[in-house]
């Protein structure tokens, strides 16, 4: 893909993270009563409106977490790629970087998707 389009995707995924990351941070940080920490409320396994299992059981919230995983994986790893290209502008490093980051991205997506799907199905 041309560098111009990759950078466009970088900005678009950034805006995506702003939206889905906003939802994620909202459920974890802004649904607790003031004066209680997240550890006592949203980071409980169960028993709060936005406790862990409650969030994953909700189809919309679980899907939004998956999109957050997708966008952040791309945005983070592409960011590393851009920095490495700036640091080492040679073809060998660029090509090695591409394969290492593709593998890392694939592994992150598989592992993260596993967590979301299975946590959604726990009864």
């Amino acid at each position: 893909m041309r560098e111009k389009n990759v950078m466009l995707l970088h900005y678009l995924s950034g805006v995506g993270i702003l939206i889905f990351g906003g939802i994620h941070l909202f459920t974890v940080f802004f649904t607790r009563p003031l004066g209680e920490t997240v550890w006592e409320t949203t980071l409980l396994f169960e028993g709060h409106q936005f406790a862990i299992l409650e969030v994953y059981r909700n189809m919309l919230l679980a899907s939004s977490l998956w999109f957050l995983l997708l966008f952040t994986t791309f945005h983070g790893l592409n960011g590393l790629r851009v920095i490495l290209i700036e640091l080492f502008p040679n073809r060998a490093v660029r090509s090695a970087t591409r394969y290492v980051l593709l593998f890392l991205g694939f592994a992150l997506m598989v592992y993260g998707t596993r967590t979301i799907v299975i946590a959604h199905m726990i009864r």
Partner: protein, 163 residues
């Protein structure tokens, strides 16, 4: 491909340029902070994906476990992660995420030509100015919001307002 001595010297120059903005303009600080926060938050993200894998019973679980098993596994991990050092780390991550978000919005707007203003005549006598007033304002807003986010996270994680 083997790097020659001249090449490896230039790598260290680039690294120094990337990482040491002291004595330069805020544009350079913005550049460095965006990269440093990006790398640190990416590392945090990788660990976060690994760590949240413990909600369902750890890395070995590729089936749907019983709720009791997942819950007790999670409680053990939570006991390990719930300590002042990790919480302090999360406060720093909160600062970095907020800064990277707002400063990243500035870069996104700049990419599409928004907030850049009209091009002006270059004055060879004055130092280079690449931030427009809007861009400069967004940069300082990102610092301010990041600091607010850090203060908010201190309360959310340590419960300082609970008294």
């Amino acid at each position: 491909m083997r790097a020659t001595r001249a090449q490896s010297r230039s790598y260290s120059t680039v690294l120094k340029t990337m990482l040491l903005p002291a004595g330069y303009s805020v544009e350079r600080w913005s550049y460095t902070l965006q990269r440093v926060t990006g790398v640190v938050v990416t590392l945090y993200f990788v660990l976060h994906v690994v760590e949240t894998g413990n909600f369902i019973g750890g890395p070995g679980v590729w089936y749907v476990p019983s709720k009791d098993f997942a819950a007790s596994y999670y409680e053990q991990v939570k006991e390990l992660l719930h300590n002042p050092i990790f919480d302090a780390g999360l406060v720093i991550i909160g600062w970095m995420v907020a800064f990277h978000t707002i400063n990243g919005l500035r870069l996104t707007l700049a990419h599409f030509g928004i907030t850049l203003g009209k091009p002006t005549r270059v004055d060879p006598e004055s130092p280079p100015r690449s931030f427009s007033n809007y861009q400069r304002a967004i940069f300082w807003a990102s610092i301010a919001l990041a600091t607010f986010a850090a203060v908010y996270s201190v309360d959310a994680l340590f419960g300082v307002l609970s008294g």
